[in-house]
C-alpha cells in the first residue's frame, strides 16, 4: 500500500528523454515562470482557435448558397462588429503581453548575487572560471569542460551529453553568469535552469539564476558554431553550499 502512494512522489528527470515533447522538470523560479507563461499563452491559443474555427464553420454552414439564397448585397458595414473585432484582439494581445513583460524583466534582474561564474565558449568546449576565489598561488580557479566521447562512456552516462568537468553550483544562491565566446558565437543553454544566453566574442553577457534543488542539469550549445557544435554539451551540478565549499577547496588545490 505504501508503495502505491510512493509512486505519486516527485521524480525529477533532469535529462531529456528520447522523443520528449514536453519540458524538462524545472529547477529555478525562472524556468517555472517560463513554463507558466507557456501554459497561459496556450490557454489563449485554445480560446482564439475555438472562436475562429467556430466563426469559420458557422459561416460556411449557415451562409451556403443552398441555405441562404439571398445575397446580402447591401450589408457592407457594421460599426459594432468592427469595434468588437478590433478591440477584442487588442485586449487579448495585452493579456498575453503583460505576463510576458513581467517575466522578461524579472528574469533580467540580477538580485544580489553570491557567486559569479564566467562561462567562455570555445570551439568546441566550454570553460568555466570561478574568479571570486583566488588560490594560494594567486591563480583563479578555472577548468575546461569537454564532452565524454562515446568510447569512454560508463554505464549510466549520457551519450553526447555528459562531460568530464561539470559546472558545480550551490543551491539556493543567486548566481551570476558572465557568458562570452572566445572565437565564434556560441550559446549557453540549460533548459531545466531556464538559461539560454548567447556567448558573443568581445562582449560579456550577464544572466542570473537560482537553483531551488540539487541535481544534475544538462544543456547543449545552442548557436551553430562549427563542425562540432553538437558535441559541446553543458552539465550543471547543483549541490548544497557546504558541499560547494568543499568542492571549491579541493578544486583550488
Amino acid at each position: 500500500m505504501t508503495n502505491f502512494f510512493l509512486i505519486f512522489n516527485n521524480i525529477f528527470n533532469d535529462a531529456p528523454q528520447p522523443w520528449q515533447l514536453g519540458f524538462q522538470d524545472s529547477a529555478t523560479p525562472g524556468f517555472t515562470g517560463l513554463v507558466t507563461l507557456h501554459n497561459t499563452i496556450g490557454f489563449y491559443l485554445v480560446v482564439i482557435s475555438f472562436s475562429v474555427f467556430w466563426v469559420l464553420f458557422s459561416l460556411v454552414y449557415y451562409y451556403s448558397s443552398k441555405k441562404n439564397p439571398i445575397a446580402h448585397k447591401y450589408l457592407t458595414h457594421g460599426t459594432v462588429l468592427e469595434l468588437i473585432w478590433t478591440i477584442t484582439p487588442a485586449l487579448i494581445l495585452i493579456a498575453i503581453a503583460f505576463p510576458s513583460f513581467r517575466l522578461l524583466y524579472l528574469m533580467d534582474e540580477v538580485i544580489s548575487p553570491t557567486l559569479t561564474i564566467k562561462v567562455v565558449g570555445h570551439q568546441w568546449y566550454w570553460s568555466y572560471e570561478y574568479s571570486d576565489f583566488i588560490t594560494d598561488s594567486g591563480d583563479s580557479i578555472d577548468f575546461d569542460s569537454y564532452m565524454i566521447p562515446e568510447s569512454d562512456l560508463e554505464l549510466g552516462q549520457f551519450r553526447l551529453l555528459d562531460v568530464d568537468n561539470k559546472l558545480i553550483i550551490p543551491v539556493d544562491c543567486h548566481i551570476r553568469l558572465i557568458v562570452t565566446g572566445s572565437d565564434v558565437l556560441h550559446s549557453f543553454a540549460v533548459p531545466s535552469l531556464g538559461l539560454k544566453l548567447d556567448a558573443v566574442p568581445g562582449r560579456l553577457n550577464q544572466v542570473s539564476f537560482l537553483a531551488e534543488r540539487s541535481g544534475t542539469f544538462y544543456g547543449q550549445c545552442s548557436e551553430i558554431c562549427g563542425v562540432w557544435h553538437g558535441f559541446m554539451p553543458i552539465v550543471v551540478e547543483a549541490v548544497s553550499s557546504p558541499d560547494f565549499l568543499v568542492w571549491i577547496d579541493s578544486a583550488s588545490s
Binding site: P113, T116, K118, E129, S140, I178, S182, R203, F244, S252
Partner: protein, 83 residues
Amino acid sequence: MSDLSSKYVLQTVGFDARFPNQNQTRNCFQNYTDYFKCISAKGEDYAPCKQFKKAYNSLCPNEWISKFDEQRENGTFPASLEP
C-alpha cells in the same frame, strides 16, 4: 554546519547601477581601468583599490585580463590610466 571550515567565502561583486543591463562588457573594463588609476594615485597597498581588483577579476574573463595586462605593458591600452 559549524564544523565547516573553508578558506573561501561565498561573496562576489554586487549589482552596479551604472551597468543595469545584460551587457556587462563595460563593467569589466571600467573596473580594470579604475584599479590601475587607483593604484597609480594611491599606491599598490591602498586597501580600497582592492575592491576594483576583486571586481574586475570576477567580471573579466582571464583571457581578457592577460590581454589588458599586455596592452598596458606595451603602452597600447585604450584608456588613460593616469589618476
